[in-house]
Symmetry: C2
Subunit: 412 residues, 2 copies
């Protein structure tokens, strides 16, 4: 494979995670250290930064600040939710991207995101191939939702899972403190895949978690739910429930749907307010004390509870993207393969075709969900537990997080 | 002062905190080690456990598990919200308490709680004095609200403050990640005192916190609020707001009031849902993307973000209660006095009369609130910053919290 000299762009897209910047740092650090990559640019707000020719020169950043990206939540370069059109229908954006790539001699494009971002990445890759412009394109996965196809798990998932499990354990202590009982309903992110909500089962595994867990992989039945909650409350005097924001009735309509009608840029319904809605229903039907808690953005930016395993793997994904691209690979997404070393969990990277990854969603296997559809089996615990291990040495300043402070110097 | 041999009871009351068990451990450990205290009982669900003669024999617990109480959130012995009647009107409960005290030869009573608990403690103390039954009564303060009279600060406040500041810093990163702006409204606990909400200013001090902060110490004006938010959003492209659940209009009515009408045992309005309410108002008036986040129970049980200073001081408060009672003191609450050692923050205990403490609320000084009533001055930062310092060495099991597991053996 011939050596390809040129600049690279790293962009971040979609909802941020606690560790997406660790992947970006994996790309940036490895690219800066490469002999082949001539310039390292960070796109402001993902692909929009390319379209607007707003590129940060990453070589102008302080090395120490860049390293802090490993512990800085959210997308430091800025993110976007921008749906690329089908190039056969409208190739305006693609032509513009090619123009900007040519202007800066960009020969490597790394895109750090979830399902929709892999679709963007794939379309750009195919357009560049068709145009005969040599540019190696690599997807670097991230999503707290853990729903990317073909990878054992996704960078960002484990840290959110750890946040959810830990928070559930703490709330469990609090929500049963009085001599009078309480029902506590915790709403967890995940539109179509229940991976995050299932993470609440880790808390239960350690003796302080939800009694009932409802995932979007199965249909939700309000009567059955009320009956489950009433039974647990009667038996145990308290009841803690974890629900995915995406739970839906048999007809496919979201349980939360009545609450909002706004949609995001990809046509997804803007969910939220489900915990409050269910709390009201339970209160009305069962007449007991109920509290609804929505973990909201906290669960996807709670870097102080990140998994060190997740941070290191996220970094590794970014590093592998650059190394493989420099070695000649293109049109791929970095993925994880789970293995074992001396009986312990191990993880290595592999490459998947972007075409195979884009727009497929991986859900929790149905045989990991219990028969009553209100909990998960031990298969899930075995899957998730190794991922959340390890405590990062978080840089702090006066006992508060010390996040990366980037200068964001625009490339000329 | 003559030595008083006999048993002691420790009870916990009111809303739990991340570190109330550190105070309980301070009492239990010191009492178990005392030559004068013959038995150490933990009351199940505070004063209700005394009334029901449900007392746990703390000597039956494993010492290592007891030590884990320092890192275990919520009230391990169970809490209650039980309003004691005025003994001049109805002394039934007091007579019953005296009966249980006599049965177990209880000569020391430690009550771990907030304002309402100090009122309970005070009434019991006065009744015992009137009855001629020698029993030394000590209040051990706790409240995330930080609103107890006469003490520089309250055990439990700093850990909640640290949780709030850290979470605000993380959400700040997340809530401005897109190329389109967003308004984020964070609802923080505190009915009448704004100490907790003010803690969001610590995040802003470190470059990643709310633009606007509204405390219940001043009257809330919806028009002014909308105008503040619109101005900041226009100037900065994003806006983050911290509001106390207890913000109220000039006529005293809670802004959240329209939402619920349920009340707790003390006649307080059950607040909540304010963030969603304000988010709806802002969305309607300003037509931009808004997200409301309620920190809910998470902020008062987030032991994983506890302040080591808070944990040690909470332990010290419990220890001081026992030591002072054994030395002959009674009818007091342990309080904190701030000092300096070699130019650094230091804290020591002092004793206050229960009568002086009960039912008074300490609020954020008005001259610590800015003129526009939408932020706090640096006086608050200077006050709060030393309190949140220090990272506890949290015991973990498979990277999840390892909380105390008590046997709770009932005394005969």
């Amino acid at each position: 494979m011939k050596e390809l000299k040129g600049a690279c762009i790293i962009g971040q897209s979609g909802g941020p995670t606690s560790v997406i910047n660790a992947s970006a740092y994996g790309v940036i650090r490895t690219a800066l250290d490469s002999d082949v990559i001539t310039n390292v640019y960070g796109a402001e707000h993902g692909i929009k930064g390319v379209l607007n020719d707003r590129l940060f020169d990453m070589s102008k950043e302080d090395a120490g600040e860049l390293e802090l990206l490993k512990y800085t939540p959210s997308s430091a370069l800025g993110s976007c939710r921008y749906k690329m059109k089908d190039p056969d229908e409208d190739d305006t954006d693609y032509k513009r991207i090619l123009e900007v790539f040519k202007k800066h001699d960009v020969r490597y494009f790394f895109y750090n995101g979830g399902n929709d971002s892999m679709d963007t990445c794939n379309k750009i890759s195919k357009f560049m191939q068709k145009s005969g412009y040599e540019c190696r394109v690599m997807g670097v996965p991230k999503t707290i939702d853990n729903d990317l196809f073909g990878t054992d798990h996704c960078p960002g998932y484990a840290s959110a899972a750890k946040y959810i499990a830990t928070s559930c354990m703490e709330v469990y202590q609090d929500a049963r403190v009085y001599d009078t009982g309480m029902i506590c309903i915790i709403e967890i992110m995940g539109r179509h895949a229940g991976w995050l909500t299932a993470a609440a089962a880790l808390a239960a595994e350690y003796g302080a978690g939800p009694d009932l867990i409802y995932l979007p992989e199965t249909d939700f039945d309000m009567e059955q739910f009320l009956s489950d909650v009433a039974r647990v409350y009667k038996e145990r005097g308290n009841c803690m429930v974890a629900v995915s924001e995406g739970i839906h009735y048999a007809d496919g309509s979201f349980v939360s749907e009545a609450k909002t009608s706004a949609t995001d840029g990809f046509g997804h319904a803007q969910l939220g307010g489900l915990a409050a809605l269910l709390a009201n229903v339970v209160k009305e039907k069962l007449g007991v004390k109920v509290r609804g808690i929505e973990l909201s953005l906290l669960q996807r930016c709670g870097a102080h509870l990140a998994s060190e395993t997740d941070i290191e793997e996220s970094f590794m994904a970014g590093k592998a993207a650059v190394e493989n691209a420099v070695a000649g690979m293109t049109d791929k997404m970095v993925a994880f393969e789970r293995g074992e070393i001396n009986g312990h969990y191990a993880c290595k990277t592999k490459l998947l075709n972007l075409t195979d990854v884009a727009n497929f969603e991986k859900k929790v296997p149905l045989d990991w969900i219990n028969e009553a559809h209100n909990g998960v089996t031990h298969d899930f615990i075995d899957y998730a537990l190794p991922l959340i291990q390890g405590e990062p040495k978080l840089p702090k300043e006066d006992s508060l997080p010390r996040f990366a402070r980037l200068k964001k110097v625009l490339a000329k």
